[in-house]
Structures are given as C-alpha cells and as structure tokens.
Symmetry: C2
Subunit: 471 residues, 2 copies
C-alpha cells in the first residue's frame, strides 16, 4: 500500500485547491498552526510524536499518473489537474522536536507555503501527528506509573487499528516502552522485539510439562513460559520450576514466566514465593491481560511481584480517547494575520506567525509557555488566553524558543533521527515536567499564555470580524 500519494487527503482540500487555482491564488502564501485543545486521558500534556513520518511524507509526496487520471474522472478542472501533475511540497515547516512535551493551545508545528500545498498536506499531518502523539502520550503515562525499574513490552498488534499497528509500536517506544511484539516494527525502527509463546502452543501438546521442556530445549537462551493454560499455581508454575531446574543442569537459565489471566496481584506474589523457595529468584515474572496505567497503578499499590508488563489493546488504540483533537488552523494568508470567530473563545485561534517560548526554573523544570509573534523576543509576562484578567510575570532569561525550522523549500534541514534518539530525548523532557502535571487525577494545569502583542491583535481582529458579520 502506497501512502505517499497526495491522494491520502480529504477531497475538500482538492476542491478548495481548484477554487484557488481558478482564481489564480494557488501560490498565495499561507501559514497554518497545528495544535490541540484538550489533553487526552484527562491528563495534563501530550508527548509530541510522528514528526519524522510527517517530514518524510512532505518530502516525497506527489500525484501519480493514475492519481491524476482518477481526479480527471471525478470531474476536476483540466488546468488544475495539470497543475497537480507537477505538485510537490515546497513550503517551510517549523516544529517543536519529536519527543517534546507540549500543552493545549500552543502551536506544535507550523506550515508556511503556497496555500494549496498547505491544504493538501493538512489531512496527512493531522492523521500522522494526532495518532502517534496520542499513543506516545499513553505510553509515557504507563512508564510514569510503572517506574523506571520495570520492563514494558508492547503487545498490541492484533488489536491495533489495522495498519496503524506499525505506527503504534513506534510511538509506544518513543513514549518509554522497552520492546514490542511487532516484528515489522522491530525491523523498521530498530527497536527490540519480544515474545515467546501462546496458549495454542501448550494446547498442541498432550501435557504442559512436555510443551515447556520442548520450548526450553529449542529456546535455551530466551525462554519465558506461559503458565496459565490449565492451572497457574497447581500446574503451570510447578512445571516451570521443574524445567528451570533441568535448564540449570545444562548451564542455562529460565528467563521468566508469564501470567495472562486471573488475579495478577495475588498470582504474582504466590509465583514469586514459589520461585524463590525453589532457588529461582533470578526468574522474572511477566504479566499481561488488559493492562493499562490504571491497572498497573493498582498492581503497584498491592505490591504485585511483576517485573515485566505486557500492554496491548489499551495502549495501541489509545483507550479511552482513541483520538487526539489536534487541529490545523489558518493563521496567516497573503501576509495578513487571520482568525476564525466563534462564540466559544476556545474555538478561536490565534493570529499570525508565531513562536512559543518555554520558561524554566533554576532546577531546569518547565514553568510556563508563552505564545508570541515569531519576530518578537521572549515576553516578560503573559495573559491567560481566555481569562484576560489573569496575568503572569515571566523571566525571559530562562526562556527557550520551541519552534525551529525543520524543513525549508520542501527539503529537510536535518538528517532523520533514530527512534531510539527520540525516545531518549522524550525521557529527558518528561523528567523536566513537574510531577503535578503528570499525575492522573486532576493534574495541575500547565500555564500557557499570550504575549501582550498577541492578545491585542487577537482581540482587535475579533472585534473587526464581529462587527462585519453583524453589519
């Protein structure tokens, strides 16, 4: 399946493209901001993910002959289809880094270029960035609650949303997972893969002990035994202990056992004791079965003896949200700042080409983000975006600009970053985010505000538009 076609977009992008083209405005410069309004999972942040895929798509996207024929058949204007034959993305992209922690309403990525190019790119950018950021954020929550000492394995491919399984595995790794069961993801992104056996393997034998023995013999260096096919405490663990002892005689060690049903807190503690009593304290305990950050929190509270968490469905589909509400809004056209009016202030966007400054405290922790124009320095104070009476002083000397040019004239400015590098950077960024923004219940709201100049322009444009639409 070739997703590098510009047809992987919404029809209205092309319909608007035709309108611009026929009016001679298709080359008019526009700027769009990508941002989100509400953090998923009732949390306080998003871990930005998917930029590498987005840049690769932008650098390679085109319409094939077959695509153009299809558009002609759909009734598109002949001249417009000819224009699309030479289509490529020639714009500029500024973005926070992949693996950065980002907050509601602050631009994460901006696209500047001929309006038709910006519009055709919109759908793929939203599709790619919304999903991967959602999953990376979910993964980071699971890592946060599991702790740095646990091994986290992503097992979601069978319940992932179709082809999204590949991107989900990548995003889970960026968000802090150690390995995936998805072999194609392992090869594509050079991340560790993991997995040993299913119940079917045990069932294919007349008895569990022989199944375990054969598996240990054929996987002497990476043997994890699934112990819940018949009866975890009476059959599975005793048989695993027998095999572990037999492995010791050949100089090998059983890596672990896996629990996949029942009460994981109770069973893991019982299993730990049985293994320890047998002198097998090195054998790790893995657990899986409908895990998410809330179940893992509960397991930790109960002091479950689990070393490895296998997380599937809830991670790779981003349950409960399943979608991030990221949007892509026009903020400049023909060098004029633009906004959309709404009775709901939160549904408006901020005008003009922007920079976001992040402020740090003396411990290097995030304090606040201020949105201003890209031509301005870091402001010394900011206003709440929707409650203008709330103002906050800021220390410009501690500020760093978040948006950096990553693509110019349609060409990437930096070489591709490895998924491993992005994951390491993400871990570092998450450490700089204070815990009160990471907690699950009513996280403290991270402050994002507007510079005085941004606030003033937004209010002036709003007044003008309201007057026009009511006149």
């Amino acid at each position: 399946m070739n997703f590098n076609t510009a047809l992987y977009t919404d029809l209205y992008q092309l319909a608007m493209g035709q309108a611009y083209y026929l009016k001679g405005k298709h080359r008019t410069q526009a700027t769009f901001d990508y941002f989100y309004r509400k953090a998923p999972f009732e949390g306080g942040f998003v871990l930005f993910c998917g930029l590498e895929d987005a840049l690769e798509w932008l650098e390679n996207v085109s319409f094939s002959e077959e695509d153009l024929q299809y558009l002609s058949d759909q009734g598109f204007d002949k001249g417009f289809v000819e224009y699309l034959a030479g289509f490529k993305f020639t714009g500029t992209v500024k973005s926070v880094a992949e693996g950065d922690v980002v907050f509601p309403f602050a631009p994460i990525l901006t696209v500047t270029g001929p309006v038709v190019e910006c519009q055709i790119a919109e759908t793929f950018l939203l599709n790619c960035l919304n999903f991967q950021s959602l999953i990376a954020t979910k993964a980071s929550r699971i890592r946060y609650i599991a702790g740095e000492d646990k091994i986290l394995a992503e097992f979601g491919l069978r319940r992932a949303q179709g082809y999204a399984g590949l991107q989900a595995s990548r995003a889970a790794f960026v968000g802090g997972f150690d390995a995936t069961s998805n072999v194609l993801a392992g090869k594509t992104f050079r991340v560790p893969i993991t997995g040993t056996m299913a119940h079917a393997y045990i069932q294919s034998y007349d008895d569990e002990l022989t199944a375990f023995r054969d598996f240990a013999e054929t996987h002497p260096d990476n043997c994890v035994l699934l112990v819940d096919t018949y009866n975890t405490l009476k059959s599975g663990i005793p048989n695993a202990i027998t095999v572990a002892k037999e492995m010791e005689k050949t100089g090998k060690k059983l890596i672990g056992i896996r629990l996949d049903s029942g009460d994981l807190a109770y069973l893991s503690k019982a299993a730990r004791k049985m293994l320890d009593d047998a002198g097998l304290s090195y054998v790790k305990i893995a657990a899986s079965n409908q895990l998410d950050e809330h179940v893992i929190r509960s397991l930790r509270e109960q002091r479950a003896a689990i070393d490895i968490f296998g997380v599937g469905t809830n991670l790779v589909v981003g349950h409960e949200n399943a979608a991030l509400d990221g949007v892509y809004k026009l903020c400049s056209f023909e060098d004029k700042p633009r906004i959309k009016i709404s009775e709901n202030l939160k549904k408006m966007n901020f005008p003009g080409e922007k920079q976001v400054y992040r402020y740090f405290n003396d411990d290097g922790q995030f304090v606040a983000d201020a949105i201003t124009f890209e031509t301005l320095e870091a402001p010394g104070s900011m206003a709440h975006p929707f409650e203008p009476h709330k103002r906050m002083p800021l220390r410009p000397a501690s500020a760093r600009p978040m948006l950096k040019a990553v693509m110019k004239d349609g060409k990437r400015l930096f070489p591709e970053r490895s998924v491993r590098d992005i994951a390491m950077a993400a871990g570092e960024n998450l450490r700089q985010l204070p815990d009160e923004h990471k907690r699950f219940d009513f996280p403290h709201v991270y402050k994002v505000g507007l510079s005085r100049e941004m606030e003033q322009l937004r209010d002036r444009l709003k007044e003008e538009k309201l007057k026009e639409s009511e006149s």
Copy 2:
C-alpha cells in the same frame, strides 16, 4: 510501506514456529477458529468486514531476503530461517461472507493448515478482521438510526489512527455509508468521494460573500457552502442564499449548506425555514461536528432538518470501544480436538472443526445460530453454551450453513468481491436481523448454542484436562 510481509506478526508466532520446526512438527495440521466474545458498543451483533484484505494477504505473504537476514540477526535458528525462505500460506480458510452479521462465540472464520503457517497468519488476521468489523458495525448502527433516506458521509481521515484511515473508510462504506472524504479510499475501493470547503477557505478572504461567490463560480455543479465561519444565521445562511439566487440566474443550483458548530437541531431548523422562505427548498442541509449514532438519534428526535450527516472521529476510531475483542483459538491439532481450560467457562473455546448453522423464520428473519461439527447436519435443538439447562428446539429445514471454503491450498476459490457488492449484501443481511437485536439500549440477546455432540465433547475434554492438571 509493505504490509505484505510475514514480519507483520507477533514475535511469539515465530518463536513457537522455531520450537515446532526443531521438533519436526511444523507441518502438523492445526485448525484455529476466529470469533469474538462481546459485541462492541453495548450492541447485539457484529458486521463482519475485512475478509478480502485477509485473503489477499494470505495469498501473497512471504519473507523477503531482508526479512530473513533480520531474523538471523535476531538469533533465529539457521534451519528455521531456511524453512521460512520458502514460506507461503498453503492452508484452507472457511469463512462467513464479508458483510454477514455475526454473533458472540460462533466461529466467523476458520484456518486449517500446517501449524506454523496458521500461527504466523494469526496476528494479521486478528489485526485486519477485528478493526474492519468494528468500524463496519459502528457504521451500520449509524445507518440504522439515521434511516435509509439520509445521506451519510465519512469524514474521519484526519483523526483516524494513522494508516488505518484507509481501512476505516472501506469498512464505513460496507456498514452503510454513502461516501467518504478520503480520496485514496475512493480510488482504491471505487466508492464515492465527497467534500467541498473548510473554514480556512472562507478565512482566506476578507469577506464571506466573496468567498462563497468564488467557490460557486469554480464549482458550479457541486457547491456546498460552509456557513458557520462567522455567524451562521446572520451571515452564513444569508450569504449562501444570495449566492444560490445568483447561481439560479446562470442555470445552476446550490447543492447544499453545511453546519459545523453550534446547536445543530436549532440551526438546521432555522436554516431550513430561511432557505424555504427564499424558494430554495432544493438546497440540502449537511451537518457535522462530533456526530455519532447517539447524537444522530437525538437530532432525529428533535426533528432536526438535516439531510446529510458527516461523521468523522467517532466512526473511524470505533469510539467508545476502539477495539473488537476477536480471538483466534486452536481447536484441533494432529486431528485431535483441543480446548483451553479456564475457571471462567466463557474463556474456554469449543473443540474440533466446526460448522455454524443459521436458522430463519418464515419471514426470512434470523432466529438462532447453532455451532456443531463440520461433518454433521443442522441440529434439531441446541443448548446454551454456558448455561446447559437452557435448551432450544430448532427447525433444521430452515437452516443454512454459514462457513464456506474461501481458500484451499493457499489459493482463493472465488474472485475478489467489490466493496459495493459487499455493502449491498451487508444491507440485505442487516434487514434480516430483527430490530430487537439492533436497538441501542439493552438489545435482545441473539441465541447462539451448541449441538448436543459439541456440548458433550466440550464437557468431556474439560473434565479430562481438569483431572490431569490437578493430579
């Protein structure tokens, strides 16, 4: 991105494969059943979708040289990797038809073949069938509540889970949608595409009326105007009426207006009246903005004047579930029936190679499904699968077998069906499903049961396994 590689699987499939290979059992015949346990959306059924993709994958799957090198690098046994070099799927697949309505616990698809082939196929089959069936089911619920007279458009690509956007559009069409905004899906699956303009187009103009005029001029035959950028009732609809009247003078007709925010019930009724008063009763009203089957039900109750529903996020991610719990369980190995024991009867599976018979009443409506062995005729009665005292008489003369061979020796037995044909068949099948199983609140449970022979074997194997694991 090439998803036709056998690497798009879980590592444990290959780990088990190596164990079977080294023990000389990789060619042993096995049968697996695909089924689900709980209908999504608190509903009563699933609309089966994704079979064509599954068969295409099975017919073409292989390991490339690069894939094999990767597996060698991961430490797989040399002999096993050599075996994989010649890997293809050579098994038999029986399945219900794509577009069939299916119920919990009844096998939907069965795979018989050399055990390693069946295992490697598991992950893709689950990934593909679970997701597309989830979305087709969601779409069918939306069609059910919207009614046959409404136009349903799928607008989800920007919030779809990455590459899954393509499969989501296909499944939405199978489930009863009329069109998609996803241009690549339109081309790939030959389904209608739809879409006109975003707010950004209006904002790029200094005034809304000029934006509308230019769009109508450049899309004289398919113009739908988005009317909520500034003020729906005071600006958007009056401007749309002006343009519609201007179009009439050139012999053209405005197709519709689109509402994308605010109270859709109130605004649609106000819009209808304004359009009708202007002599524009032919102009249709489209609505979008976080729609799903529940919002559409409420809009219908309020007699909203909406002709076209544009449904995005909630459809294409299958909210609230985001995943179907379909599983793939070993039921036969080396010609011996197999089960997995569980303290929870519902987590057990049924043994042996099966057929599912569906019984009809005199009006051609579905009555019940009975699970039996594939060598047996339609039974004259069945037992509840988990409450054996509940029995039900059946009329064998009204029964039809559901599972039919669709692939033999790794080759498809029938030519590919078009998405349009599948959607038509799905519509017909849904009409045969009584309304009490389609309602949203506490749907009546459709009866799925076991023939006496199936019940007896399941109980006998369970007793045997329990005795073994406790001895």
